[in-house]
């Protein structure tokens, strides 16, 4: 790819990028959100037409999407052969298709049952299906867009073992990722993108996580705040909680979060996190009890608690409203905001100003509609709103989702500071690194149950990773 350029209204997504992929190399493409990585991958694949520059590839190009594009109601073999089914007369030659898939899986060391229904497979196995579908066309160039975002550590190791094998057989591979440890562990070269340009390129053997991270943010990384000892008294308690949301269920969960403690729920997405969060927020019915300081109604009354919801656009913000109006959503009935029947807009504005200042929300003014803010700034506003006033209990669901390294460090620091001041914090995250970085205690969640609990020095990345994958 030479001189690639792509302009969207108001933003230059890719600005004169040169990128050569050599046969047999695993090339990492890293960068903050919005740096232009995915756009570049889509241009290489041919899904997006560049405004300038040339793309040349010897042979076919395959792309494994960040969000899988599979047909859940079809079987594995059919998903893989979709559109290229071998025929016997006018009907699909099922036997030939199945044996082709079995042979493909065997050759690439990816264990799979060709007859399984895709929607019934775990995420990691679905990813294998997606990968096999691309491999079936025997691409000479394979692009992987954030392939490990939804995988457990063991699944990540399996995936990369396959990728390394492919490279050895001469395939050129590009991995778009923001997990720098994977870059170090598995790739041969790394290109760093910032603001649409390649700003650094290293041989992986000659670089480090720190060096890549500095190139990504264009400077030094902010330090994450230190955890200080706190007097731990039980504050939040879930006892034998069972609930079902649209997509996930939990059964028989019991755990406590102490004041001045961050408890991290580690797990692969889809193992019950949504059901747990929705039950705590009072959004779905549950059995068992959820209490704050012994009071089972406190959570429902939204008094003295902060919630960072899962989906900021639908669940957290009113996009057409200003920062001031959004700053009090969920807090509109608290004393201090509510005066009799009226909203105290002066207090609301003061809160909004405090959030914007402490969380570095970048906006032209407090009165701009939040839809005008970037995703990262919206997320900082959400976390800021949940933490303002040092609530007794904070439920933080993926608090650093979709924000760049620097902003994530800021958000994590603010969470730790709230903990240091005595808040009980329940952190649900799919990033094990995030949990290991800031949690005092780690609970592993697998298929709706807590399968492990680790405190302080017992926290062991390997054990947690195995439990996340359902191994003991």
């Amino acid at each position: 790819m030479h001189g690639i350029r792509k302009v969207y209204p108001g933003v230059i997504a890719v600005d004169g990028v040169d990128l050569d992929l050599l046969p047999g190399e695993i090339h990492a493409l890293v960068g903050e959100n919005g740096a232009g990585k995915s756009t570049l991958a889509n241009i290489a694949f041919g899904a997006v037409k560049p405004d300038g520059g040339t793309v040349e590839a010897a042979g076919t190009v395959g792309l494994v999407h960040q969000h899988f594009e599979l047909v859940g109601r079809l079987r594995v073999w059919h998903n893989i052969m979709l559109g290229r089914e071998p025929r016997k007369g006018t009907v699909v030659d099922v036997d030939r298709a199945r044996s082709r898939v079995a042979e493909l899986a065997e050759r690439n060391g990816l264990a799979i049952d060709p007859d399984a229904l895709v929607e019934e497979l775990p995420i990691g196995v679905q990813q294998r299906v997606e990968l096999l579908r691309e491999l079936e066309r025997e691409p000479s160039v394979l692009l992987l867009d954030e392939p490990t975002a939804a995988l457990a550590p063991a699944e990540i190791a399996t995936l990369f073992a396959t990728v390394v094998q492919l490279a050895k057989r001469g395939t050129a591979i590009l991995v778009v990722t923001h997990k720098l440890q994977e870059v170090i562990d598995y790739t041969t070269r790394v290109s760093v993108m910032r603001h649409g340009k390649i700003v650094a390129r290293y041989e992986t053997a000659d670089t480090s996580v720190d060096e890549i991270a500095r190139a990504m943010v264009g400077g030094e990384l902010p330090q994450v705040a230190q955890r200080e000892p706190t007097g731990a008294a039980p504050c939040f308690a879930a006892r034998d909680v069972s609930a079902a949301s649209d997509t996930t269920t939990v059964s028989g969960l019991s755990f406590e979060v102490h004041a001045g403690e961050i408890v991290g729920i580690a797990g692969v997405e889809g193992n019950g996190q949504t059901a747990l969060a929705d039950a705590i927020a009072g959004m779905i019915p549950y059995t068992g009890s959820i209490e704050l300081d012994g009071d089972s109604t406190a959570l429902r009354h939204r008094n003295n608690i902060g919630i960072v919801p899962q989906d900021r656009h639908h669940e957290g913000l009113v996009l057409n409203w200003s920062i001031v109006e959004n700053a009090i959503l969920g807090r509109q009935n608290l004393p201090g905001i509510r005066k009799g029947a009226l909203t105290d807009w002066r207090a609301a504005r003061a809160d909004a100003a405090a959030i914007v200042e402490r969380f570095d929300v970048r906006a032209a003014s407090l009165d701009v509609a939040v839809k005008m803010l970037s995703g990262g700034n919206q997320q900082k506003l959400l976390v800021g709103r949940a933490l303002i006033g040092d609530p007794r209990f904070v439920l933080a669901y993926q608090p650093t989702r979709g924000i760049d390294v620097g902003a994530a460090a800021l958000v994590q620091s603010r969470l730790i500071e709230a903990r240091n001041r005595g808040s009980a914090i329940l952190l649900i995250s799919f990033e094990l690194d995030e949990i290991l970085a800031i949690a005092d205690r780690v609970l592993v969640m697998y298929r709706g149950k807590i399968t492990g609990s680790f405190t302080g020095s017992e926290i062991d990345r390997g054990k947690i990773g195995r439990l996340m994958a359902g191994l003991s």
Binding site: R300, E315, L329, A341, L342, K371
Partner: protein
């Protein structure tokens, strides 16, 4: 050019563009648009009586338009202002024929009864939505027909005045009439149909604006309309909000019905509304659901309603042309919303 476009993109621009299109339509029909529009202006603003009539029409549109605005701001498409208006008028008319007492008290009581009637009618749709998730668009529309049939039956049967030839209630006792509009200097409205109901309507608009912008209830109502899922997660009881918003919306429309009965007709019959509740949807949208702009929009539509008659008599433009103009305004407005949505969906 850009400035002109931006002006045209506002509600005022929608009106202007609609009038241009209406002029073209008149030309096609062989009428000089200048004659047509001058008759329209004379009939609505050309003197004390036309102005009074314009304000009567403005008031009749303003109450349901304000009620509709309230529901729309809560994200509820109340198409049933017509039925709520009728029920409000029916409640006021049925009781007003018999209620004696000090005038200020009985008039106030009848207006409250109107709110009750409209509120019940809106509340039924609200309950159906809150309890069974039944679309309020369908139920409010259907309730219009039920209201019309029910009122028609009652005024032809149990409530029919024995003295009247048509289907209507007995006339209101004079103590139940809304006072005439106060005399301003030498300008008296005693011989017109204009009453203080226009002042009540404007006061209602001011109260609504206050509720929307200053109260916690108004904040929650707007949150429910703008982002239902975020509102639910902020602890707002959405079924309860639905019930309250549709009840209040109906109550405001019902107040309008009672105002027409106590101020204009002095009795109830089903010709109370020539479709005010439907036209009011356009009024609310032209006014951007903002109570104060809705007042301005209602005045605009009031001018059309009042001036239409003169246009027909003097310029030979059928009164239906007014409906065409109203339709054009709604079309232009819909187009404007379409372009506004497109402009704001560009990546930032």
């Amino acid at each position: 050019m850009k400035v002109v476009l931006r002006l045209l993109a506002g509600p005022a621009g929608a009106l202007l563009l609609a009038f241009v299109l209406a002029a073209v339509a008149m030309l096609i029909a062989g009428v000089n648009p200048v004659d047509g529009f001058s008759a329209l202006i004379r009939g609505s603003l050309g003197g004390r009586r036309p102005i009074a009539e314009t304000l009567v029409q403005t008031t009749a549109l303003l109450f349901p338009a304000l009620g509709i605005s309230l529901a729309f701001r809560a994200g509820l498409f109340n198409i049933g202002a017509e039925g709520q208006l009728l029920m409000g008028g029916l409640f006021a008319g049925a009781v007003g024929a018999h209620l004696a007492g000090p005038s200020w008290l009985t008039v106030a009581a009848l207006l409250l009864l109107g709110m009750l009637g409209g509120g019940i009618w809106g509340g039924i749709a609200g309950w159906l939505r809150a309890r069974f998730n039944a679309s309020e668009i369908i139920s409010t529309l259907m309730l219009n027909f039920i209201a019309l049939s029910l009122a028609g039956y009652l005024v032809a049967g149990p409530l029919k005045s024995p003295l009247a030839s048509g289907a209507e209630t007995a006339p209101l006792l004079p103590n139940n009439w809304l006072p005439a509009f106060p005399t301003i200097g030498s300008l008296s409205f005693g011989d017109t149909r204009l009453t203080i109901s226009i002042l009540i309507a404007i006061a209602t608009a001011i109260v609504l604006r206050f509720v929307f912008t200053r109260t916690v209830f108004g904040y929650e109502l707007r949150a429910a309309g703008e982002a239902p899922e975020a509102a639910r997660r902020s602890g707002i009881n959405m079924p309860r909000m639905t019930l309250i918003a549709l009840s209040l919306s109906g109550a405001v429309a019902g107040l309008g019905g009672a105002a027409i009965v106590t101020g204009v007709l002095h009795r109830f019959n089903t010709s109370l509304s020539p479709g005010y509740g439907y036209t009011a949807i356009a009024v609310a949208l032209v006014g951007d659901l903002n109570p104060l702009w809705v007042c301005v929009a209602a005045l605009g539509f009031g001018i059309l309603e009042a001036g239409g008659l003169m246009m027909q008599a003097d310029a030979g433009v059928p009164k239906d042309a007014i409906r065409v103009i109203e339709g054009l305004i709604i079309l232009v407005l819909a187009a404007r919303r379409y372009f506004a949505t497109r402009a704001s969906s560009a990546p930032i």
